[in-house]
Symmetry: C2
Subunit: 176 residues, 2 copies
DNA sequence: CATCGCATGTAATAGGTTACATGATTAT
DNA sequence: ATAATCATGTAACCTATTACATGCGATG
């Protein structure tokens, strides 16, 4: 049940409406960490509010409700964040596809590795540009920004994926 | 619906029983790519067999059924593997935890980054040992092994995570 | 002959996806 | 006025988790 903690964390970082959160999920968060459609976000917000882990701090036009994490919510978030990593419960489609490569014949395998290397290389380019842009507008002494951390993380992850794919291509070529 | 493709791929790589697959899911596959409990594996195997994407190739003691991927199954697997990566649908608890760091105060944040860096460093050590062992027993010209590819991938991923956490620690220290 | 691991399953519940739905406000 | 976007929801269906359950075969 990570969705509730994602919401708790995002609302602790910055009070937002369900609609705001929905948009955040379509950005960095949905790309690398966690995705949820609005049809899950709204019910979960209502449940969290019922349990007093979040609360309405503002109401706007069109029934807009801005939530923030309560003290109880922050405690629950902190508890969850410090929980040790659970092993052996991965669920990552991209990684799965890389693993299943070995069930293809060599030609298909090379083609797919090439595709993965190219895809990751493109992501590296894109994220490098994002990082340059973010760093240009940085004021010294500011608090660490979610977006900057996320971009750096994505960058390093894609570099690793790209390098792995190139390594694997070499390996397939060598074993002919 | 990645589970069916995970099964299709594993059975294409090597014919196995549901019990064999269950064990594979608790190893590399479940650690990095995809996890499923036996209560999902068996019903899905039955569904795949009904659709003639896999078939029983052997029966053993205690009702053991060994399945293999059919030609139709291989086609479906290939189609899925070559599908372009879907963006913005991530679901990765570890990465989520890294992102939500920024909602903690600086002290907690440093402690958690330290924890993540240590955890990844331990994984790097573990996987380096695995890689050394696998390479020692390698015959030249053998077909690329699932385990070796997986270990290398995990190794590079954890190196990237560790380096990111160390980078983030530096950054938090600098912003004080 | 007891215990451990093999091997598969059902049922209840929780969580996630997709399709459908509605109304308010802002910009053109 | 009209379209686009804001803002939230329900319902049906599918997928996943957890608890419970059973019997066979090998090993000591």
């Amino acid at each position: 049940m990570s969705l509730r903690h994602a919401l708790l964390g995002m609302l602790a970082y910055e009070p937002s409406s369900g609609y705001d959160l929905k948009k955040a999920f379509t950005r960095e968060l949905g790309e690398y960490a966690w995705h949820a459609p609005h049809t899950r976000i709204y019910p979960e917000l209502n449940a969290l509010a019922d349990e007093h882990l979040i609360e309405v701090v503002d109401e706007g036009a069109r029934g807009r409700r801005v939530y923030a994490t309560t003290d109880a919510g922050r405690e629950e978030l902190r508890r969850w964040l410090f929980l040790p990593t659970e092993h052996g419960k991965a669920r990552n489609t991209d990684t799965l596809k890389l693993f299943l490569l070995t069930s293809l014949d060599s030609e298909d395998m090379r083609a797919l590795l090439r595709q993965h290397a190219d895809e990751s290389a493109r992501e590296v380019e894109k994220l490098t540009a994002v990082v340059v842009e973010l760093d240009a507008g940085l004021k010294p002494g500011e608090r660490p920004q979610l977006g900057r951390m996320a971009a750096e993380f994505g960058l390093r992850l894609h570099q690793a994926r790209r390098d792995w794919a190139l390594w694997a291509l070499d390996r397939v070529a060598a074993s002919r």
